[in-house]
Amino acid sequence: MRVDSGVQTAAVRQHPAVRWRASIRFWKSKTAGRRVGLAFIYAVLIVGSIAFALPFYWMIATSFKTKMEAVMYPPKWVPIPIHFTGYERMWTAFPFARFLTNTCFITITTMIGFILTSTLVGYGFARTKFKGRDALFLVLLATMMLPPQVTMIPTFIIFRALGWINTYYPLIVPAFIGGSAFYIFLMRQFIMTLPRELDDAARIDGCNSFRIYWNILMPLSKPAIATIAVFSFVGEWNDFMGPLIYLQSQEKMTIAVGLRLFVGQFSTDLPAMMAGSFVTVLPLIVIFFLAQNYFVQGIALTGLKQ
């Protein structure tokens, strides 16, 4: 099929060169007042994004400096020559590889739990009918507003009675039993947007509800599942209070609590401290760039149509 030359396809419009030329035309079409306005907008955005990026740059730059260079005035803007001594000290002083492995284990297990609970429960709220469903959905929304500290203490006492202190169960089990109200809400909203005719057709073909969930709606919900996966990855990776309360021995610790322990002892060693911080946020940055659209979609889904 040939594209009509007069109509730009979305792909063509997205091309940087095309957008650049379009914006030049746009710029020329504006009055002087509008141009000043646009220039102001660009100035704020450019200065703002430099300010937002600078802390990251400084973290990375400092991690490649020597201890002396890190405290110099005026500061050394570019860490040349590059020193890896901060990384060496960080890596040998504490079992960071162990911390990373532990964190990956917890993060991936809870992710599976959150995906299962949010899709099952989201499907239940979006597609099945039963008495009290809408009232329960309101309860679900209300629990999102509940400060977790209200339930934290008895929950701790329950897990302690089960002998689960210094195990991963308190961090993992709630993802499978209970899940997250927020992810369930996201999933329910997403499933509501899928056409019901699919369910009806499948039912005529003899599918029961579970098969409609598993074989029809789950595959179609991949974007929403990906959103929940990245949200839960980030949430668990950054989680601090949970591991702080439940994990005691060093070999069980996650990167977040491990990093705090490390910084507590190396607070004057800025390059090692920044190296540790960089190693901690690097997986998040990678995930962010791989899955940025899923973050944006998910967050847009929460803000709208409350």
Partner: protein
């Protein structure tokens, strides 16, 4: 309600059991079980514990309202923690929303490289945690931190930030601005959903761009602003990680956030009864503020249709 169900009801017979009427419960059962085990039971258990003295050894000992009496009348640090938290909330939430709104407005303008700018503003909110808390502790170090170094270049002697009683909370507010990206993305989605014809109509009526902002954009965005405000206030009351790892409540209790104080009672001193009372007071305060916002929202939030 299906007509067959109504018909059988009229006929006076019990409606026949239909699997479809109940299978929904099966689907939501993982959540329901969690709600019971980690929600409802702990919710009332902590209310009960708040009337007891319980230090994890032996059984909780019923002491009536004693915890609440002590909290309100004999514990100045409770009031300090409440004040610190409210102060932070009042500074951080409105300023964060304004910054996010302005950034979203600018990103929504007809500009090149929108995706690039959005990424730049959004990324820090994803990395927020212990690591970035340490990063900011370094950036805000009064002697060799980047912030005061940059200020010294323009001839300003920067404050003591996290080492100063006056500047510690503002320092944490500054850190919170770095994480406004999530709100920016919410606003951006909201702005793109404002119907274009409203702007066109306003333009025909001769509205300036300022007038369009005040009379079209902000009213149409008010539900979204309201949502982010409610969640922002709730979030600001959850402030813990930064205060715990960076300042540990100091200097001189200047950053003794409510959750930090609660955490110390619960998991450092194991005063589970007293900590439960603190948790319930927090719950009532957050509930009160949220309901208050909901009540006031009728005056400024515009819901279409």
């Amino acid at each position: 309600m299906t007509t067959t169900a109504a018909a059988t009801h009229v006929a006076g017979r019990r409606p026949r059991f239909r699997w479809q009427d109940y299978e929904g419960w099966l689907f939501i059962s993982p959540w329901l079980l969690g709600l019971l085990l980690f929600g409802i039971i702990p919710f009332f258990a902590s209310l009960y514990l708040s009337f007891t003295k319980y230090e994890l050894l032996g059984a909780p000992e019923w002491i009536g309202l004693h915890n609440y009496q002590r909290l309100f009348f004999q514990d100045p640090r409770f009031w300090i923690s409440l004040k610190v938290t409210l102060y932070y909330s009042v500074l951080a939430v409105p300023s964060g929303l304004v910054i996010a709104f302005v950034l979203a407005l600018f990103l929504n303008a007809d500009i090149v490289a929108r995706a690039f700018f959005r990424t730049m503003f959004y990324l820090p909110s994803v990395t927020a945690g212990v690591a970035t808390a340490f990063l900011w502790a370094y950036l805000l170090n009064p002697t060799n931190g980047l912030v005061n170094t940059l200020l010294s270049f323009v001839g300003i002697k920067g404050p003591g930030w996290i080492y100063s009683r006056q500047w510690a909370v503002p320092a944490l507010v500054l850190m919170s601005w770095w994480g406004v990206g999530g709100t920016v993305v919410i606003y951006l989605a909201g702005l793109q959903a404002v119907p274009q014809h409203l702007y066109e109509a306003a333009e025909i009526d001769g509205a300036s761009s300022w007038g369009r902002l005040l009379h079209v954009t902000i009213p149409m965005m008010s539900p979204t602003i309201f949502f982010t405000m409610v969640m922002g206030v709730i979030g600001s009351f959850q402030m813990f990680t930064t205060a715990y790892v960076v300042t540990n409540g100091g200097p001189a209790d200047a950053t003794l956030f409510y959750i930090l104080y609660l955490f110390r009672h619960a998991f450092q001193n194991f005063n589970m009864g007293y900590a439960s009372a603190l948790a319930w007071v927090l719950f009532v305060i957050v509930l009160g503020i949220t309901l208050g916002q909901l009540k006031l929202s009728g005056r400024w939030v515009y819901y279409e249709g």
